[in-house]
Symmetry: C2
Protein backbone atom coordinates (compact mmCIF):
# COMPACT_ATOMS: atom_id res chain seq x y z
CA UNK A 1 0.00 0.00 0.00
CA UNK A 2 2.86 2.43 0.76
CA UNK A 3 3.95 4.50 -2.20
CA UNK A 4 6.63 7.15 -2.40
CA UNK A 5 5.62 10.68 -3.27
CA UNK A 6 7.07 10.57 -6.76
CA UNK A 7 4.64 7.89 -7.87
CA UNK A 8 1.73 8.41 -5.48
CA UNK A 9 -1.46 8.72 -7.47
CA UNK A 10 -4.61 9.61 -5.53
CA UNK A 11 -6.98 8.03 -8.04
CA UNK A 12 -5.22 4.69 -7.90
CA UNK A 13 -4.97 4.83 -4.12
CA UNK A 14 -8.63 5.82 -3.74
CA UNK A 15 -9.75 3.06 -6.03
CA UNK A 16 -7.88 0.46 -3.98
CA UNK A 17 -9.19 1.78 -0.68
CA UNK A 18 -12.76 2.15 -1.87
CA UNK A 19 -12.85 -1.39 -3.21
CA UNK A 20 -12.51 -2.55 0.40
CA UNK A 21 -14.92 0.05 1.74
CA UNK A 22 -17.68 -0.72 -0.77
CA UNK A 23 -17.32 -4.45 -0.18
CA UNK A 24 -17.47 -4.00 3.58
CA UNK A 25 -20.47 -1.65 3.43
CA UNK A 26 -22.35 -4.08 1.24
CA UNK A 27 -21.54 -6.93 3.62
CA UNK A 28 -22.37 -5.07 6.80
CA UNK A 29 -25.62 -3.41 5.74
CA UNK A 30 -27.73 -6.51 5.73
CA UNK A 31 -30.37 -6.80 3.04
CA UNK A 32 -32.14 -9.09 5.54
CA UNK A 33 -33.19 -6.29 7.88
CA UNK A 34 -36.95 -6.68 8.21
CA UNK A 35 -39.81 -5.22 6.21
CA UNK A 36 -37.86 -3.33 3.57
CA UNK A 37 -35.67 -1.53 6.11
CA UNK A 38 -32.50 -3.20 4.83
CA UNK A 39 -33.36 -2.22 1.29
CA UNK A 40 -33.85 1.43 2.28
CA UNK A 41 -30.59 1.43 4.25
CA UNK A 42 -28.65 -0.03 1.34
CA UNK A 43 -30.24 2.41 -1.09
CA UNK A 44 -29.14 5.28 1.14
CA UNK A 45 -25.52 4.15 1.34
CA UNK A 46 -24.45 1.93 -1.55
CA UNK A 47 -23.64 2.92 -5.13
CA UNK A 48 -23.07 6.57 -4.59
CA UNK A 49 -21.18 9.33 -2.94
CA UNK A 50 -17.58 10.40 -3.15
CA UNK A 51 -16.71 8.60 0.12
CA UNK A 52 -14.54 11.49 1.24
CA UNK A 53 -14.94 10.62 4.92
CA UNK A 54 -13.86 6.97 4.59
CA UNK A 55 -10.89 8.08 2.51
CA UNK A 56 -9.89 10.56 5.21
CA UNK A 57 -10.04 7.80 7.84
CA UNK A 58 -7.88 5.50 5.75
CA UNK A 59 -5.45 8.23 4.71
CA UNK A 60 -4.96 9.29 8.35
CA UNK A 61 -4.50 5.66 9.37
CA UNK A 62 -1.83 5.36 6.69
CA UNK A 63 -0.12 8.51 7.94
CA UNK A 64 0.17 7.25 11.51
CA UNK A 65 0.64 3.54 10.82
CA UNK A 66 4.42 3.71 10.86
CA UNK A 67 6.31 0.78 9.53
CA UNK A 68 4.61 -2.00 11.48
CA UNK A 69 1.53 -3.40 9.80
CA UNK A 70 -1.19 -4.46 12.23
CA UNK A 71 -4.15 -6.41 10.90
CA UNK A 72 -6.43 -5.54 13.84
CA UNK A 73 -5.78 -1.83 13.39
CA UNK A 74 -6.32 -2.12 9.65
CA UNK A 75 -9.67 -3.69 10.42
CA UNK A 76 -10.40 -0.93 12.93
CA UNK A 77 -9.69 1.65 10.23
CA UNK A 78 -11.97 -0.13 7.76
CA UNK A 79 -14.77 -0.31 10.33
CA UNK A 80 -14.21 3.34 11.22
CA UNK A 81 -14.28 4.28 7.53
CA UNK A 82 -17.63 2.54 7.09
CA UNK A 83 -19.02 3.93 10.35
CA UNK A 84 -18.38 7.56 9.41
CA UNK A 85 -19.97 6.96 6.02
CA UNK A 86 -23.06 5.49 7.69
CA UNK A 87 -23.37 8.57 9.89
CA UNK A 88 -22.95 10.82 6.86
CA UNK A 89 -25.51 8.81 4.88
CA UNK A 90 -28.07 8.88 7.69
CA UNK A 91 -27.69 12.65 7.99
CA UNK A 92 -28.40 13.05 4.28
CA UNK A 93 -31.51 10.84 4.50
CA UNK A 94 -32.93 12.88 7.36
CA UNK A 95 -31.77 16.20 5.91
CA UNK A 96 -33.61 15.50 2.65
CA UNK A 97 -36.93 14.81 4.37
CA UNK A 98 -39.88 17.15 3.78
CA UNK A 99 -39.68 18.66 7.27
CA UNK A 100 -36.02 19.59 6.66
CA UNK A 101 -34.75 20.51 3.18
CA UNK A 102 -37.52 18.68 1.32
CA UNK A 103 -35.19 17.55 -1.42
CA UNK A 104 -36.14 14.99 -4.03
CA UNK A 105 -32.80 14.40 -5.75
CA UNK A 106 -29.55 13.08 -4.22
CA UNK A 107 -26.59 11.61 -6.05
CA UNK A 108 -28.72 11.73 -9.19
CA UNK A 109 -31.37 9.44 -7.70
CA UNK A 110 -34.70 10.04 -5.95
CA UNK A 111 -34.09 10.65 -2.25
CA UNK A 112 -34.87 7.87 0.23
CA UNK A 113 -38.22 9.26 1.37
CA UNK A 114 -39.33 9.70 -2.25
CA UNK A 115 -38.38 6.11 -2.99
CA UNK A 116 -39.52 4.38 0.23
CA UNK A 117 -41.83 6.83 2.01
CA UNK A 118 -41.12 9.19 4.87
CA UNK A 119 -41.58 6.73 7.71
CA UNK A 120 -39.15 4.23 6.23
CA UNK A 121 -36.65 7.03 5.55
CA UNK A 122 -36.85 8.13 9.16
CA UNK A 123 -36.25 4.56 10.36
CA UNK A 124 -33.49 3.89 7.86
CA UNK A 125 -31.63 6.96 9.08
CA UNK A 126 -32.09 5.92 12.69
CA UNK A 127 -30.92 2.38 11.96
CA UNK A 128 -27.87 3.60 10.03
CA UNK A 129 -26.78 5.64 13.03
CA UNK A 130 -27.09 2.63 15.31
CA UNK A 131 -25.26 0.43 12.82
CA UNK A 132 -22.29 2.80 12.83
CA UNK A 133 -21.77 2.17 16.53
CA UNK A 134 -22.45 -1.52 16.12
CA UNK A 135 -19.69 -1.79 13.50
CA UNK A 136 -17.20 -0.10 15.78
CA UNK A 137 -17.87 -2.46 18.68
CA UNK A 138 -18.60 -5.73 16.92
CA UNK A 139 -17.83 -8.91 18.80
CA UNK A 140 -16.60 -10.31 15.51
CA UNK A 141 -13.61 -8.02 15.44
CA UNK A 142 -10.21 -8.45 17.05
CA UNK A 143 -9.90 -4.75 17.72
CA UNK A 144 -8.56 -3.71 21.09
CA UNK A 145 -11.28 -2.45 23.47
CA UNK A 146 -9.38 0.77 23.99
CA UNK A 147 -9.52 1.53 20.27
CA UNK A 148 -13.20 0.55 20.06
CA UNK A 149 -14.12 2.89 22.89
CA UNK A 150 -12.03 5.71 21.46
CA UNK A 151 -13.58 5.39 18.00
CA UNK A 152 -17.09 5.42 19.47
CA UNK A 153 -16.27 8.47 21.53
CA UNK A 154 -14.95 10.44 18.55
CA UNK A 155 -17.86 9.46 16.34
CA UNK A 156 -20.61 10.07 18.91
CA UNK A 157 -19.25 13.50 19.83
CA UNK A 158 -18.97 14.58 16.19
CA UNK A 159 -22.47 13.37 15.30
CA UNK A 160 -24.41 14.74 18.24
CA UNK A 161 -25.55 18.01 19.74
CA UNK A 162 -22.05 19.48 19.88
CA UNK A 163 -21.36 18.34 16.30
CA UNK A 164 -23.42 17.57 13.24
CA UNK A 165 -26.90 17.62 14.80
CA UNK A 166 -26.11 20.86 16.61
CA UNK A 167 -24.92 22.41 13.35
CA UNK A 168 -28.14 21.36 11.65
CA UNK A 169 -30.12 23.04 14.41
CA UNK A 170 -28.22 26.29 13.87
CA UNK A 171 -28.79 25.88 10.13
CA UNK A 172 -32.54 25.51 10.68
CA UNK A 173 -32.66 28.55 12.90
CA UNK A 174 -30.57 30.65 10.53
CA UNK A 175 -32.91 30.63 7.54
CA UNK A 176 -33.61 34.19 6.54
CA UNK A 177 -31.19 35.55 9.15
CA UNK A 178 -27.99 37.47 8.64
CA UNK A 179 -25.09 35.65 10.32
CA UNK A 180 -21.68 37.22 10.69
CA UNK A 181 -18.61 35.28 9.66
CA UNK A 182 -17.96 33.92 13.16
CA UNK A 183 -21.52 32.59 13.42
CA UNK A 184 -21.40 31.10 9.94
CA UNK A 185 -18.08 29.40 10.72
CA UNK A 186 -19.46 28.02 13.98
CA UNK A 187 -22.49 26.59 12.14
CA UNK A 188 -20.31 24.86 9.56
CA UNK A 189 -17.68 23.68 12.05
CA UNK A 190 -20.47 21.73 13.69
CA UNK A 191 -22.63 20.80 10.72
CA UNK A 192 -19.98 19.54 8.31
CA UNK A 193 -16.62 20.14 9.91
CA UNK A 194 -17.03 18.00 13.01
CA UNK A 195 -17.54 14.74 11.13
CA UNK A 196 -14.73 15.47 8.66
CA UNK A 197 -12.38 16.26 11.53
CA UNK A 198 -13.55 13.14 13.36
CA UNK A 199 -12.81 11.07 10.25
CA UNK A 200 -9.19 12.21 10.38
CA UNK A 201 -8.95 11.68 14.13
CA UNK A 202 -10.55 8.23 13.94
CA UNK A 203 -7.92 7.23 11.40
CA UNK A 204 -5.30 8.63 13.77
CA UNK A 205 -6.82 6.61 16.64
CA UNK A 206 -5.97 3.47 14.63
CA UNK A 207 -2.30 4.10 15.41
CA UNK A 208 -0.24 5.77 18.10
CA UNK A 209 0.60 9.28 16.93
CA UNK A 210 2.61 11.49 19.27
CA UNK A 211 1.15 14.79 20.47
CA UNK A 212 2.71 16.79 17.64
CA UNK A 213 1.33 14.47 14.99
CA UNK A 214 -2.10 14.39 16.59
CA UNK A 215 -2.21 18.16 16.87
CA UNK A 216 -1.16 18.58 13.23
CA UNK A 217 -3.80 16.12 12.06
CA UNK A 218 -6.46 17.84 14.09
CA UNK A 219 -5.66 21.23 12.61
CA UNK A 220 -5.54 19.65 9.15
CA UNK A 221 -9.00 18.18 9.75
CA UNK A 222 -10.41 21.49 10.95
CA UNK A 223 -9.08 23.46 7.98
CA UNK A 224 -10.22 20.78 5.55
CA UNK A 225 -13.69 20.66 7.13
CA UNK A 226 -14.17 24.37 6.72
CA UNK A 227 -12.70 24.38 3.21
CA UNK A 228 -15.15 21.66 2.23
CA UNK A 229 -18.09 23.82 3.25
CA UNK A 230 -16.79 26.99 1.63
CA UNK A 231 -16.38 25.07 -1.64
CA UNK A 232 -19.85 23.57 -1.18
CA UNK A 233 -21.29 27.06 -0.92
CA UNK A 234 -19.36 28.12 -4.03
CA UNK A 235 -20.54 25.10 -6.04
CA UNK A 236 -24.14 25.71 -5.03
CA UNK A 237 -23.83 28.97 -7.02
CA UNK A 238 -21.49 27.98 -9.84
CA UNK A 239 -22.46 24.39 -10.71
CA UNK A 240 -25.65 22.98 -12.17
CA UNK A 241 -27.83 20.20 -10.73
CA UNK A 242 -26.80 17.62 -13.31
CA UNK A 243 -23.11 18.01 -12.41
CA UNK A 244 -23.76 18.10 -8.66
CA UNK A 245 -26.20 15.18 -8.68
CA UNK A 246 -28.34 17.23 -6.32
CA UNK A 247 -30.39 20.39 -6.57
CA UNK A 248 -28.15 23.41 -7.21
CA UNK A 249 -28.97 26.94 -6.13
CA UNK A 250 -30.99 25.72 -3.17
CA UNK A 251 -29.17 27.83 -0.58
CA UNK A 252 -30.26 31.05 -2.25
CA UNK A 253 -33.72 29.62 -2.92
CA UNK A 254 -34.02 28.72 0.77
CA UNK A 255 -32.56 32.06 1.81
CA UNK A 256 -29.73 30.38 3.72
CA UNK A 257 -26.62 32.29 4.70
CA UNK A 258 -23.49 31.02 2.88
CA UNK A 259 -19.88 32.06 2.44
CA UNK A 260 -20.78 33.35 -1.00
CA UNK A 261 -23.66 35.48 0.25
CA UNK A 262 -21.46 36.75 3.08
CA UNK A 263 -18.12 37.33 1.33
CA UNK A 264 -18.99 37.40 -2.36
CA UNK A 265 -17.85 34.75 -4.83
CA UNK A 266 -14.25 35.91 -5.37
CA UNK A 267 -13.48 36.29 -1.67
CA UNK A 268 -15.05 32.93 -0.92
CA UNK A 269 -12.77 31.36 -3.53
CA UNK A 270 -9.75 33.08 -2.02
CA UNK A 271 -10.78 31.88 1.44
CA UNK A 272 -10.99 28.29 0.19
CA UNK A 273 -7.42 28.54 -1.10
CA UNK A 274 -6.27 30.03 2.20
CA UNK A 275 -7.84 27.13 4.10
CA UNK A 276 -6.07 24.69 1.80
CA UNK A 277 -2.78 26.38 2.70
CA UNK A 278 -3.63 26.04 6.38
CA UNK A 279 -4.36 22.34 5.94
CA UNK A 280 -1.07 21.77 4.17
CA UNK A 281 0.91 23.68 6.82
CA UNK A 282 -0.72 21.66 9.57
CA UNK A 283 0.17 18.46 7.79
CA UNK A 284 3.75 19.62 7.48
CA UNK A 285 3.83 20.52 11.18
CA UNK A 286 2.68 17.02 12.09
CA UNK A 287 6.12 15.75 10.96
CA UNK A 288 4.44 12.63 9.63
CA UNK A 289 5.88 11.36 6.38
CA UNK A 290 3.19 9.14 4.85
CA UNK A 291 0.88 12.05 4.15
CA UNK A 292 0.55 11.89 0.37
CA UNK A 293 -3.04 10.76 0.50
CA UNK A 294 -4.07 13.36 3.07
CA UNK A 295 -2.29 16.07 1.14
CA UNK A 296 -3.88 15.21 -2.20
CA UNK A 297 -7.30 14.71 -0.63
CA UNK A 298 -7.22 18.28 0.66
CA UNK A 299 -6.33 19.54 -2.80
CA UNK A 300 -9.11 17.49 -4.30
CA UNK A 301 -11.63 18.91 -1.82
CA UNK A 302 -10.77 22.47 -2.76
CA UNK A 303 -10.40 21.93 -6.49
CA UNK A 304 -13.44 19.70 -7.02
CA UNK A 305 -16.24 20.78 -9.31
CA UNK A 306 -18.98 18.54 -7.86
CA UNK B 1 -28.25 0.06 49.06
CA UNK B 2 -28.53 -3.66 49.78
CA UNK B 3 -31.73 -4.67 51.54
CA UNK B 4 -32.88 -8.10 52.58
CA UNK B 5 -36.03 -9.48 51.01
CA UNK B 6 -38.15 -9.07 54.13
CA UNK B 7 -37.85 -5.31 54.03
CA UNK B 8 -37.21 -4.66 50.33
CA UNK B 9 -39.63 -2.07 49.05
CA UNK B 10 -39.59 -1.36 45.32
CA UNK B 11 -40.98 2.15 45.65
CA UNK B 12 -38.28 3.20 48.10
CA UNK B 13 -35.58 1.53 46.02
CA UNK B 14 -36.85 3.09 42.77
CA UNK B 15 -37.01 6.52 44.33
CA UNK B 16 -33.38 6.28 45.46
CA UNK B 17 -32.19 5.01 42.09
CA UNK B 18 -34.17 7.51 40.07
CA UNK B 19 -32.89 10.43 42.10
CA UNK B 20 -29.44 9.62 40.68
CA UNK B 21 -30.76 8.95 37.18
CA UNK B 22 -32.77 12.17 36.94
CA UNK B 23 -29.86 14.22 38.25
CA UNK B 24 -27.47 12.61 35.78
CA UNK B 25 -29.83 13.04 32.83
CA UNK B 26 -30.33 16.69 33.65
CA UNK B 27 -26.58 17.18 33.91
CA UNK B 28 -25.69 15.28 30.75
CA UNK B 29 -28.35 16.69 28.41
CA UNK B 30 -26.86 20.11 28.06
CA UNK B 31 -29.30 23.01 27.82
CA UNK B 32 -26.46 24.75 25.95
CA UNK B 33 -26.86 22.68 22.79
CA UNK B 34 -27.30 25.25 20.03
CA UNK B 35 -30.41 26.86 18.59
CA UNK B 36 -33.03 25.32 20.84
CA UNK B 37 -31.81 21.77 20.27
CA UNK B 38 -30.86 21.32 23.90
CA UNK B 39 -34.26 22.54 24.99
CA UNK B 40 -36.02 20.05 22.71
CA UNK B 41 -33.77 17.21 23.90
CA UNK B 42 -34.45 18.02 27.54
CA UNK B 43 -38.18 18.32 26.91
CA UNK B 44 -38.15 14.87 25.33
CA UNK B 45 -36.38 13.21 28.23
CA UNK B 46 -36.76 15.07 31.52
CA UNK B 47 -39.77 15.20 33.83
CA UNK B 48 -41.61 12.22 32.55
CA UNK B 49 -41.70 8.55 31.93
CA UNK B 50 -41.64 5.59 34.26
CA UNK B 51 -37.90 5.01 33.67
CA UNK B 52 -38.41 1.27 33.48
CA UNK B 53 -35.29 0.74 31.38
CA UNK B 54 -32.91 2.61 33.70
CA UNK B 55 -34.39 0.72 36.66
CA UNK B 56 -33.78 -2.59 34.88
CA UNK B 57 -30.14 -1.64 34.26
CA UNK B 58 -29.63 -0.71 37.89
CA UNK B 59 -31.52 -3.72 39.24
CA UNK B 60 -29.46 -6.09 37.07
CA UNK B 61 -26.26 -4.35 38.16
CA UNK B 62 -27.33 -4.87 41.75
CA UNK B 63 -28.05 -8.55 41.10
CA UNK B 64 -24.57 -9.21 39.69
CA UNK B 65 -22.57 -6.80 41.82
CA UNK B 66 -21.70 -9.36 44.46
CA UNK B 67 -20.26 -8.13 47.69
CA UNK B 68 -17.50 -5.92 46.35
CA UNK B 69 -18.59 -2.38 45.61
CA UNK B 70 -16.84 -0.80 42.62
CA UNK B 71 -17.28 2.92 42.00
CA UNK B 72 -16.30 2.71 38.32
CA UNK B 73 -18.87 -0.02 37.67
CA UNK B 74 -21.51 1.91 39.58
CA UNK B 75 -20.77 4.83 37.28
CA UNK B 76 -20.93 2.52 34.28
CA UNK B 77 -24.37 1.36 35.39
CA UNK B 78 -25.57 4.93 35.87
CA UNK B 79 -24.30 5.90 32.41
CA UNK B 80 -25.88 2.78 30.93
CA UNK B 81 -29.17 3.56 32.69
CA UNK B 82 -29.20 7.05 31.18
CA UNK B 83 -28.10 5.81 27.76
CA UNK B 84 -30.98 3.31 27.39
CA UNK B 85 -33.42 6.01 28.47
CA UNK B 86 -32.03 8.36 25.81
CA UNK B 87 -32.52 5.69 23.15
CA UNK B 88 -36.04 5.04 24.40
CA UNK B 89 -36.82 8.77 24.44
CA UNK B 90 -35.48 9.33 20.93
CA UNK B 91 -37.60 6.46 19.63
CA UNK B 92 -40.71 8.04 21.13
CA UNK B 93 -39.92 11.42 19.59
CA UNK B 94 -39.52 9.92 16.13
CA UNK B 95 -42.42 7.50 16.57
CA UNK B 96 -44.79 10.35 17.42
CA UNK B 97 -43.94 12.32 14.27
CA UNK B 98 -46.61 12.87 11.62
CA UNK B 99 -45.02 10.45 9.17
CA UNK B 100 -45.13 7.69 11.80
CA UNK B 101 -47.91 7.57 14.42
CA UNK B 102 -48.76 11.27 14.19
CA UNK B 103 -49.43 11.52 17.90
CA UNK B 104 -49.91 14.82 19.68
CA UNK B 105 -49.92 13.69 23.31
CA UNK B 106 -47.16 11.92 25.25
CA UNK B 107 -46.78 11.67 29.01
CA UNK B 108 -49.64 14.12 29.27
CA UNK B 109 -47.78 16.81 27.33
CA UNK B 110 -47.73 17.91 23.68
CA UNK B 111 -45.31 15.73 21.73
CA UNK B 112 -41.92 17.16 20.77
CA UNK B 113 -42.83 17.97 17.17
CA UNK B 114 -46.01 19.74 18.31
CA UNK B 115 -43.99 21.80 20.77
CA UNK B 116 -40.84 22.50 18.70
CA UNK B 117 -41.70 21.69 15.08
CA UNK B 118 -40.98 18.59 13.04
CA UNK B 119 -37.46 19.48 11.97
CA UNK B 120 -36.30 20.14 15.52
CA UNK B 121 -37.99 16.90 16.69
CA UNK B 122 -36.14 14.96 14.02
CA UNK B 123 -32.81 16.51 15.07
CA UNK B 124 -33.50 16.11 18.79
CA UNK B 125 -34.13 12.38 18.27
CA UNK B 126 -30.96 12.04 16.21
CA UNK B 127 -28.91 13.92 18.80
CA UNK B 128 -30.33 11.87 21.67
CA UNK B 129 -29.21 8.68 19.96
CA UNK B 130 -25.69 10.05 19.50
CA UNK B 131 -25.62 11.26 23.11
CA UNK B 132 -26.40 7.75 24.36
CA UNK B 133 -23.19 6.45 22.81
CA UNK B 134 -21.27 9.51 23.94
CA UNK B 135 -22.30 8.89 27.55
CA UNK B 136 -21.12 5.31 27.39
CA UNK B 137 -17.68 6.23 26.09
CA UNK B 138 -17.02 9.52 27.81
CA UNK B 139 -13.43 10.46 28.46
CA UNK B 140 -14.56 11.83 31.80
CA UNK B 141 -15.35 8.38 33.14
CA UNK B 142 -13.05 5.89 34.81
CA UNK B 143 -14.88 2.96 33.25
CA UNK B 144 -12.78 0.16 31.86
CA UNK B 145 -12.56 0.19 28.04
CA UNK B 146 -13.79 -3.38 27.92
CA UNK B 147 -17.00 -2.42 29.70
CA UNK B 148 -17.44 0.69 27.54
CA UNK B 149 -17.14 -1.34 24.35
CA UNK B 150 -19.47 -4.03 25.65
CA UNK B 151 -22.15 -1.53 26.67
CA UNK B 152 -21.99 0.17 23.26
CA UNK B 153 -22.26 -3.17 21.52
CA UNK B 154 -25.36 -4.22 23.47
CA UNK B 155 -27.05 -0.86 23.04
CA UNK B 156 -26.28 -0.45 19.33
CA UNK B 157 -27.50 -3.96 18.48
CA UNK B 158 -30.74 -3.51 20.42
CA UNK B 159 -31.47 -0.11 18.87
CA UNK B 160 -30.74 -0.88 15.25
CA UNK B 161 -32.04 -2.88 12.32
CA UNK B 162 -32.01 -6.17 14.25
CA UNK B 163 -33.69 -4.52 17.23
CA UNK B 164 -35.91 -1.54 17.81
CA UNK B 165 -35.68 0.10 14.38
CA UNK B 166 -36.29 -3.26 12.70
CA UNK B 167 -39.35 -3.83 14.87
CA UNK B 168 -40.69 -0.43 13.94
CA UNK B 169 -40.29 -1.29 10.27
CA UNK B 170 -42.31 -4.48 10.76
CA UNK B 171 -44.87 -2.46 12.67
CA UNK B 172 -45.17 0.01 9.78
CA UNK B 173 -45.57 -2.78 7.27
CA UNK B 174 -48.12 -4.64 9.39
CA UNK B 175 -50.85 -1.99 9.46
CA UNK B 176 -54.05 -3.55 8.22
CA UNK B 177 -52.43 -6.99 7.93
CA UNK B 178 -53.25 -10.14 9.83
CA UNK B 179 -50.14 -11.41 11.62
CA UNK B 180 -50.02 -14.82 13.27
CA UNK B 181 -48.73 -15.09 16.82
CA UNK B 182 -45.16 -15.92 15.75
CA UNK B 183 -45.00 -12.83 13.52
CA UNK B 184 -46.53 -10.62 16.19
CA UNK B 185 -44.04 -11.93 18.76
CA UNK B 186 -41.14 -11.32 16.38
CA UNK B 187 -42.30 -7.75 15.79
CA UNK B 188 -42.49 -7.03 19.50
CA UNK B 189 -39.28 -8.85 20.39
CA UNK B 190 -37.54 -6.36 18.15
CA UNK B 191 -39.62 -3.26 18.66
CA UNK B 192 -39.88 -3.21 22.45
CA UNK B 193 -38.27 -6.39 23.72
CA UNK B 194 -34.76 -5.84 22.40
CA UNK B 195 -34.13 -2.64 24.34
CA UNK B 196 -35.68 -4.02 27.55
CA UNK B 197 -33.53 -7.14 27.28
CA UNK B 198 -30.50 -4.98 26.52
CA UNK B 199 -31.22 -2.92 29.64
CA UNK B 200 -30.95 -6.07 31.76
CA UNK B 201 -27.84 -7.27 29.93
CA UNK B 202 -26.16 -3.86 30.18
CA UNK B 203 -26.69 -3.95 33.92
CA UNK B 204 -25.22 -7.44 33.91
CA UNK B 205 -22.22 -6.19 31.90
CA UNK B 206 -21.43 -3.90 34.85
CA UNK B 207 -20.36 -6.98 36.78
CA UNK B 208 -18.97 -10.42 36.10
CA UNK B 209 -21.88 -12.86 36.08
CA UNK B 210 -21.12 -16.51 35.35
CA UNK B 211 -22.76 -18.22 32.37
CA UNK B 212 -25.70 -19.50 34.40
CA UNK B 213 -26.45 -16.07 35.82
CA UNK B 214 -26.10 -14.41 32.44
CA UNK B 215 -28.38 -16.95 30.81
CA UNK B 216 -31.00 -16.55 33.52
CA UNK B 217 -30.92 -12.78 33.22
CA UNK B 218 -31.23 -12.95 29.47
CA UNK B 219 -34.31 -15.18 29.65
CA UNK B 220 -35.74 -12.92 32.34
CA UNK B 221 -35.21 -9.93 30.04
CA UNK B 222 -36.84 -11.68 27.10
CA UNK B 223 -39.92 -12.74 29.06
CA UNK B 224 -40.24 -9.32 30.64
CA UNK B 225 -39.88 -7.60 27.27
CA UNK B 226 -42.70 -9.60 25.77
CA UNK B 227 -44.87 -9.24 28.88
CA UNK B 228 -44.42 -5.49 28.70
CA UNK B 229 -45.81 -5.41 25.19
CA UNK B 230 -48.73 -7.74 25.89
CA UNK B 231 -49.74 -5.52 28.79
CA UNK B 232 -49.30 -2.45 26.57
CA UNK B 233 -51.74 -3.94 24.10
CA UNK B 234 -54.18 -4.74 26.91
CA UNK B 235 -53.98 -1.21 28.35
CA UNK B 236 -54.55 0.33 24.94
CA UNK B 237 -58.00 -1.31 25.11
CA UNK B 238 -58.81 -1.10 28.82
CA UNK B 239 -57.36 2.26 29.96
CA UNK B 240 -58.30 5.82 29.04
CA UNK B 241 -56.01 8.53 27.64
CA UNK B 242 -55.94 10.54 30.86
CA UNK B 243 -54.63 7.57 32.85
CA UNK B 244 -52.15 6.53 30.15
CA UNK B 245 -50.89 10.06 29.50
CA UNK B 246 -51.05 9.19 25.81
CA UNK B 247 -53.78 8.49 23.31
CA UNK B 248 -55.65 5.27 24.18
CA UNK B 249 -57.34 3.05 21.64
CA UNK B 250 -54.95 4.04 18.91
CA UNK B 251 -53.96 0.50 17.93
CA UNK B 252 -57.53 -0.32 16.93
CA UNK B 253 -57.95 3.11 15.34
CA UNK B 254 -54.79 2.51 13.31
CA UNK B 255 -55.83 -1.05 12.51
CA UNK B 256 -52.66 -2.45 14.08
CA UNK B 257 -52.41 -6.11 15.04
CA UNK B 258 -52.11 -6.59 18.81
CA UNK B 259 -52.19 -9.45 21.30
CA UNK B 260 -55.72 -8.43 22.18
CA UNK B 261 -56.91 -8.47 18.57
CA UNK B 262 -55.15 -11.80 18.04
CA UNK B 263 -55.94 -13.68 21.27
CA UNK B 264 -58.88 -11.77 22.76
CA UNK B 265 -58.64 -9.83 26.02
CA UNK B 266 -58.90 -12.72 28.50
CA UNK B 267 -56.28 -14.85 26.75
CA UNK B 268 -53.96 -11.88 26.42
CA UNK B 269 -54.26 -11.32 30.17
CA UNK B 270 -53.52 -14.99 30.86
CA UNK B 271 -50.52 -14.82 28.53
CA UNK B 272 -49.14 -11.82 30.43
CA UNK B 273 -49.34 -13.81 33.68
CA UNK B 274 -47.64 -16.78 32.02
CA UNK B 275 -44.80 -14.54 30.87
CA UNK B 276 -44.43 -13.20 34.39
CA UNK B 277 -44.05 -16.79 35.61
CA UNK B 278 -41.38 -17.38 32.98
CA UNK B 279 -39.50 -14.28 34.07
CA UNK B 280 -39.58 -15.37 37.70
CA UNK B 281 -38.41 -18.89 36.87
CA UNK B 282 -35.52 -17.52 34.83
CA UNK B 283 -34.52 -15.29 37.70
CA UNK B 284 -34.58 -18.26 40.05
CA UNK B 285 -32.48 -20.30 37.61
CA UNK B 286 -29.85 -17.55 37.54
CA UNK B 287 -29.00 -18.52 41.15
CA UNK B 288 -28.36 -14.86 41.88
CA UNK B 289 -29.51 -13.73 45.29
CA UNK B 290 -29.85 -9.94 45.08
CA UNK B 291 -32.82 -10.12 42.73
CA UNK B 292 -35.52 -8.40 44.74
CA UNK B 293 -35.60 -5.36 42.51
CA UNK B 294 -35.67 -7.41 39.29
CA UNK B 295 -38.38 -9.64 40.70
CA UNK B 296 -40.63 -6.82 41.82
CA UNK B 297 -40.03 -4.84 38.62
CA UNK B 298 -41.40 -7.77 36.61
CA UNK B 299 -44.48 -7.89 38.80
CA UNK B 300 -44.93 -4.16 38.43
CA UNK B 301 -44.69 -4.41 34.63
CA UNK B 302 -47.46 -6.98 34.47
CA UNK B 303 -49.71 -5.47 37.13
CA UNK B 304 -49.40 -1.81 36.08
CA UNK B 305 -52.44 0.13 34.98
CA UNK B 306 -50.65 2.85 33.00
Amino acid sequence: MRQNSAVFDLDTWSEQQLASVEKALSLWISPQAPAGLGEAMRYAVLDGGKRLRPLLVLAAREAVAGLTPDAALDEAALRAACAVELIHAYSLVHDDMPCMDNDVLRRGKPTVHVQFGEAQALLAGDALQALAFELLTSDASAIDDHVQARLCRLLAASAGHAGMAGGQAIDLASVGMRLDEAQLRQMHRLKTGALLEASVMMGAACGSPNAQARDGLQRYGQALGLAFQVVDDILDVTADSATLGKTAGKDAANDKPTYVSLLGLASAQAYARELLDQAMSALHASQLTQTHALSQLAQRVVNRNT
